[in-house]
């Protein structure tokens, strides 16, 4: 009897596109592993870390949410260089609801997420017709403008910001809240983009005139994507505010705009898992390089270049391809 190598996914793919007619546990496990890794990794592994590294994971998760929000906007061809707009708005919303109205995080988080999404969408509605660099320029400028506005008018605590906000009961609670949000957004966004609705969104970034001539109002779809993306960003901001017990001008800082883009590019755009992986590599890496002092940025930049040059398609696409190429020995009779 001869033996040859065969890719596992061949048969699985053919039988699992529309109908799930899998023939063995092995095939089911093959399909489930990619989804199980982030769930198990986040929910079971991270609580075992030290307090310090849990803190790192939490701030990583905030960046990961911003990166996935960026990826959502990018799916519709909206290049955002102002993720800090979402972070800042979410942060100030949750902050003032807590500071002035005394609402607990369990209320401020959902309110800031939804209301923040609406506010950011309204802010960007006038420029929704712009594409590419033009849209990017506006998003880059808006958070800078808002932070100067706070400084000049001294509203919302001015340069001091709002301090002494309510924190989460304990670190573990905070960790689980952000991780559940992270998983929800990851699988939710992937599901949306895998549906026919997602095809329309991709169509808009590919060829918007073609979508228009298909009888669809692209501005309405872009508005929906903007709301989805910005409300996730606002959640990240609201969460970060309660974590730091502070809402202020740093919420509009450039870090929150640049890091998500870097994470998405390193991880691979258009996949949501890519930006997440990117954030989980870049943020802890930046923590680990802290010991190097001034040389930190040099090494950090070097790593970025290596990733982008070495894996231009993104880390996630690379892992995905390797996973699909896994082979097993089969008997050929």
């Amino acid at each position: 009897m001869d033996r040859r190598k065969e890719r596992i996914d061949r048969g699985v793919k053919a039988r699992s596109v529309d109908i799930f007619a899998l023939t063995s546990y092995r095939e089911m496990i093959y399909l489930l592993i990619p989804g199980a890794v982030p769930v198990v990794g986040l929910l079971c592994f991270t609580p075992l870390l030290s307090d310090y590294w849990r803190e790192v994971i939490i701030s990583t998760a905030i960046y990961a949410l911003l990166a996935m929000s960026w990826d959502m906007l990018m799916s519709a061809g909206l290049l955002s260089l102002g993720q800090s707009l979402f972070f800042g708005i979410g942060s100030y919303l949750a902050g003032s609801l807590n500071y002035y109205a005394g609402l607990p995080p369990i209320l401020t988080l959902p309110i800031a997420t939804l209301l923040g999404g609406v506010i950011c969408t309204v802010f960007l509605l006038p420029v929704l017709r712009l594409r590419g660099v033009y849209f990017a320029m506006v998003t880059l400028v808006l958070p800078l403008m808002l932070s100067r506005l706070v400084e000049a008018t001294r509203i919302l605590g001015g340069t001091e910001g709002l301090t002494g906000l309510t924190s989460f009961p304990n670190q573990l609670t905070a960790l689980f809240i952000i991780e559940l949000a992270l998983l929800g957004v990851l699988f939710g966004f992937r599901r949306i983009m895998g549906s026919d609705y997602g095809l329309v969104i991709k169509g808009i970034s590919d060829n918007d005139r073609s979508v228009m001539s298909a009888g669809l109002n692209i501005y309405w779809y872009k508005t929906q994507v903007l709301f989805l993306g910005s409300s996730v960003g606002c959640f990240a901001g609201a969460f970060g505010t309660h974590m730091d017990m502070f809402a202020g001008m740093p919420g509009f800082a450039l870090d929150y705009s640049i890091m998500p883009v870097a994470a998405a590019v390193v991880g691979g755009t258009g996949t949501f898992a890519g930006p997440l992986i990117g954030a989980f590599i870049l943020v802890p890496l930046s923590e680990m390089l802290r010991a190097l002092g001034a040389l930190r940025i040099v090494f950090y930049g070097l790593f970025l270049v290596i990733f982008v040059v070495g894996l231009p398609e993104g880390i996630f696409a690379y892992i995905q391809r390797k996973y699909q190429q896994i082979e097993r020995w089969v008997d050929v009779s």
């Binding site: 026919d196 169509g203 590919d206 060829n207 073609s210 228009m212 298909a214 009888g215």
Partner: protein, 252 residues
Amino acid sequence: MTDRVPLLRVKDLTKTFGGVTAVSNMAFDLQEGKLLGVIGPNGSGKTTLVNLITGFVKPTAGRIEFKGKEITGWPPYKVVSEGISRTFQMVRPFYQLPAYKNLIVPLYSPRVKKLAGGKYGNRDAVALDLLEEVGFERDAYVSYKKAGALPQGYLKRLELAKSMALRPDLIILDELFSGLSLAEVSSIVPIIEKLKTQGKTIIMIEHRLKELFRIADRVMVLNYGRKIAEGQATQVMESPAVKEAYLGSEAE
């Protein structure tokens, strides 16, 4: 001629871009079920006319009525919902998507949902059927190939399928045959003839006169944004104005 309301009525339509008049005082009626050919030299305003009717460009003056309803200046998605679909001269597929997934986008439109009685059904199956109708071989790999990797002939067919997916009453084909070989053109002609027998109204912008004249009920000739002749193909080509536009004025 009957005096019933034409499917499409264009009245005094004018479009100027800066100082250039692309379409000037255009007027014509199109009865349901007819195939109107639009010909004219390059830059005579044919594509602008399509863009005006489909809402991609807003007219400077004039009126467009479809099924007796005024649709002048409507945005493209609303025009499509009324039942007008178009193809683009330069094909506009979604290059990243497989060929059949390209059709999911038009199949997702509110118009298709309305016609199906609120249900979408299995769009993938409908898409594959449509591709077969325009000449993609059934069960062949080509339907699953990324649109970016398809040859021109298939891209044109895909473009046609995308406009057919909307189940329009009026289809506007903007130079569907350009860039195709003779064999490819003669394989697409029966598809258009079939659409005609199904009662669809068609406007064809075309440079391939021989094929067009065989299927067109009426032909309209444009030059410098003006209609210079309209009628049966043979009559139109005899008109001195058309001869001059196509061949240039004779030396005296």
